[in-house]
């Protein structure tokens, strides 16, 4: 059944009109709009920096832990016997790279390059984990890999160490 515009049909009687439920854009108070725009601007400015710092902290933590407790990480080393010295050395080397990358990210030293290297490292981790089956650990690291990839493309960074 078709109805003419502006004439409420029998079913609409007694119901609030839809338009009244959602205010028009120009009905939003100017102060709220300004605040929303400002919040969006601050987020756009600082979100990459916060993401970079948090990723750096993650790398720093794992790097430090792999360096001081290599024996707890050898189970992750693919192919190599977990109880061998080679596995320990590989964990130490991995931890060292993570630590340096973490410092680079936190301090804002060539952050995009550091994020790109972190992406490669995380990709290697995700692949080595995925080989033995998809688990929640694998998916968690996949998310961290996503953050590293996003940071690789971010040009706007605050708190960057230059010179």
């Amino acid at each position: 059944m078709s109805q003419r515009k502006g004439t409420p049909g029998p079913t609409a009687v007694g119901r609030p009109r839809q338009k009244a439920a959602s205010p028009r854009p120009d009905a939003v108070p100017a102060g709220v709009r300004a605040a929303a725009e400002r919040a969006g601007s601050v987020a756009a400015d600082w979100a990459p920096t916060v993401g970079r710092l948090l990723l750096g902290l993650v790398l720093l933590w794992f790097g430090y832990h792999e360096l001081v407790r290599p024996g707890e990480w050898t189970g992750y080393v693919p192919v190599v016997n977990a109880s061998s010295s080679l596995a320990i050395i590989m964990v130490l080397a991995h931890g060292w790279v993570l630590l340096v990358l973490g410092v680079a990210l936190v301090a804002g030293i060539v952050p995009r390059v550091a994020a790109a290297l972190a992406s490669v490292l995380l990709l290697e981790i995700v692949i080595s984990l995925a080989v033995s089956g998809i688990s929640d650990t694998t998916l968690r690291d996949l998310g961290v890999l996503g953050l590293a990839i996003v940071l690789t493309g971010c040009e706007r960074q605050r708190l960057v160490l230059r010179g």
């Binding site: 407790r69 109880s83 320990i88 630590l99 030293i109 688990s135 650990t137 230059r162 010179g163």
Partner: protein
């Protein structure tokens, strides 16, 4: 481009990393829990060939009892049960998950990921057989007056889909009726 200050910071970080690596190398076979209770991973097997039998009770902590899976053949062992300290008094008590008796909780099942544990009640105690999934299980270890078996796992985050990516922080503890760790 990386500047002088950035290079300096990275250099310091690199040197600190080398220092930490030296420290890590010097304690490469120690683990948070494994050192205390005799873990199930490599951390509890310093310089021991995988195929050779090793004592079920780690030398690093003679007063605590833990069964470690034996990768190689060894004679079935039967340990005299001398009660040690209370499990609850040990620093790793917070990481202990009851595996037996009863149905293990979800957390205990996750803690036991990657491990095969079988417990048999026997006259005067229990026989515990533990191993790593995919590896030969060692002989059963008899614990006189054994009443409960706990899995020690300091980080459940490394256990998933019946795979434990880090056995260095795993262990097994048997206690008597009073909660004392059996040797």
């Amino acid at each position: 481009m990386i500047g002088f200050r950035g290079l300096t910071v990275l250099l310091i970080a690199g040197l600190a990393g080398i220092g930490l690596a030296v420290l890590g190398w010097s304690q490469r076979y120690t683990g948070l829990v494994a050192n205390a209770v005799g873990g199930l991973g490599s951390a509890s097997a310093p310089a021991t060939p995988a195929a050779s039998p090793r004592p079920a009770t780690p030398a690093a902590s003679p007063r605590s009892a833990a069964t470690a899976p034996q990768a190689g053949p060894s004679a079935a062992s039967s340990a005299p049960a001398s009660p040690g300290p209370l499990l609850s008094s040990e620093p790793y008590a917070q990481y202990a998950y009851l595996e037996w008796p009863g149905t293990p909780s979800v957390a205990a099942q996750q803690a036991a990921s990657g491990l095969t544990i079988s417990v048999t009640r026997q006259p005067g105690g229990i026989a515990v057989r533990a191993g790593v999934v995919g590896q030969p299980t060692g002989p059963a270890h008899f614990y006189a007056n054994g009443r409960s078996v706990y899995v020690i796992e300091s980080s459940l985050g490394d256990d998933a889909a019946n795979v434990d990516y880090n056995l260095g922080d795993d262990g097994l503890v048997v206690t008597d009726a009073h909660g004392r760790i059996l040797q």
